[in-house]
Point group: C2
Chain length 319, copies 2
């Protein structure tokens, strides 16, 4: 079967089968290796011009983006970053200054978290393709995984949702007055993830790179649970409201259905909510629903409806 018919999720399941029990910690944001009393975290994400770098994106932003999406995977595991490697596939016709701008953007992102670019390589490629590798570490007892929630836990997200969706739609429809920062300059939630891990406040954690609803579908499957989301509690980003109004769309859909927000989605017991909010601080942690025994539902205006997964999936064309 061709990948466009199969889709990314099914492909990853087949790969997991081929690897047997041994391999591919595909369900989590980073791979982890036990190293004495700590887990070493390693993650890699490939980004490329055609699918990840819209025309408006500068080389500096490409570098930032490649660094940020990899650091976000360390954040989602509760880890402290140790360094970043960049594997650059570059067209021969590219100007060296553009390459150096990619490096500068990545450097500025990692230095914000007191780490360095520690290695990498450069190769020729027809299309700018950046393979980022982030390395991190987390004490054994503090690692955050995607499995471990139970019915009754509350669901919460950091920051606001829909910044990337708003940027994507603004670009697609040529809207003015909307910042693309949420799309092209994501902020990895390293401090927040580390704080939640260190204080053992959450039962699971993942980043929202795949979008809110899509992520809930993934979590429901691997945890064998359901979710009831309270739509009106979703912290919709300001730009999502603006773009939704201009395009006549539902701002909640812009916030919940699009990938690219590198916020953290966590589950935790209700009694930890106060302390977790304190730890997350200014970034804000918002409770948006609850883990249930089964079914993925959203409540609003006194009604309960099924939560529809219209999120993007690689290889398949979904919108």
């Amino acid at each position: 079967m061709k990948l466009l018919d199969l889709g990314e999720r099914a492909l990853l399941n087949r790969i997991r089968e081929v690897l047997g029990n041994k391999g591919f910690s595909l369900v989590d944001d980073s791979a982890y290796i036990l190293f004495d009393d700590r887990y070493l975290l390693v993650t890699t994400d490939m980004v490329r011009k055609k699918t990840h770098f819209p025309e408006v994106m500068t080389p500096w932003e490409m570098g930032w983006f490649a660094a940020a999406v990899n650091l976000s995977d360390i954040a989602a595991m509760g880890g402290e970053p140790l360094g970043l490697l960049l594997s650059l596939g570059l067209p021969k016709s590219m100007d060296e200054n553009q390459v150096l701008e990619i490096i500068r953007g990545a450097r500025e992102c990692v230095e914000r978290y007191d780490v360095s670019i520690i290695g990498g390589d450069t190769k020729e490629h027809d299309e700018v393709t950046i393979g980022g590798v982030a390395v991190g570490v987390v004490p054994k007892e503090e690692i955050l995984l995607r499995i471990g929630m139970k019915p009754g836990d509350v669901v919460a997200v950091t920051g606001s949702l829909g910044k990337a969706g708003a940027g994507f739609l603004a670009l697609k429809h040529g809207l003015d007055g909307v910042s693309f920062d949420g799309l092209v300059k994501p902020i990895p939630r390293l401090v927040e993830g580390r704080g939640l891990a260190e204080n053992r406040l959450v039962s699971t954690c993942m980043d929202l790179s795949d979008g809110f609803v899509n992520s809930l579908y993934q979590l429901a499957e691997i945890n064998k649970v359901g979710f009831l989301i309270e739509r009106d509690k979703i912290p919709v980003a300001r730009d999502a409201f603006v773009v939704a109004e201009k395009l006549g769309l539902d701002p909640f859909s812009v916030s919940m259905d699009y990938g690219g927000d590198y916020e953290l989605l966590v589950t935790l017991s209700e009694e930890n909510v106060g302390e977790a909010c304190d730890v997350v601080g200014e970034t804000k942690l918002t409770v948006v629903g609850r883990v249930t025994e089964g079914g993925l539902n959203v409540s609003f205006g006194g009604r309960v409806k099924k939560l529809v997964n219209s999120g993007f999936e690689h290889f398949k064309s979904s919108r």
Copy 2:
């Protein structure tokens, strides 16, 4: 300046400047991070269909190759591998079985060294592009670096040279009866690298992915030394003789000027040669020359000539 005028070496130097002292351990095969009394090793290499996977190469071999070239970087540091991650960029039109064959090839390579594929991701790409990441570990005192040789040390290589060059030329000229294994199925010298490191037998080590002469040029620059190579001691691979004869080429050129042999190039003091040969065992370690105060020269038939670097460099077209 465009990359095709600048070339990979100059680009890497510029990147190093941008990163200052902090970054990019570009001179070594892997990045290394101190972790208590050990170094954690992390390396990433991107390979792609157009430049790394000749038509004859099966998806299984692509997977093996992506794993092997990354493990080779761990070998060159004297490390023990801990795991491999694969970041796969795949065309939508690709068949799932081809993807699974890539995974199977990579798995067979890493399992040979008792490690697993521990993570990765899949993304859409117009061209099959595999970003491999190998993770390893080496006791602090045993790490092998490229810097540290001194005049008087001897130069030695593992295995035989020219297997990849022979495969490359056989493909290019459509020759029959030459195995492509040296080109498409390299063997990372993990056991040999680890043995040399553990017994503290060598002063420097690197892998020969860039070719023998090219590697000597890199080593001369960073160590501020020269080399005198005895041409007739080069362990020329059988296929290099065969291909050279068919094409009327110099077999030593096929062995010394082409990249893609994942053998180890080491320097060591003369007194360690016997023990180093024992450690490398059946793979064979061959002394091929000596570190000098300056100049890159090759001796043969009683004459001494300058060693010319005609090796491939990314971005630049050299042959």
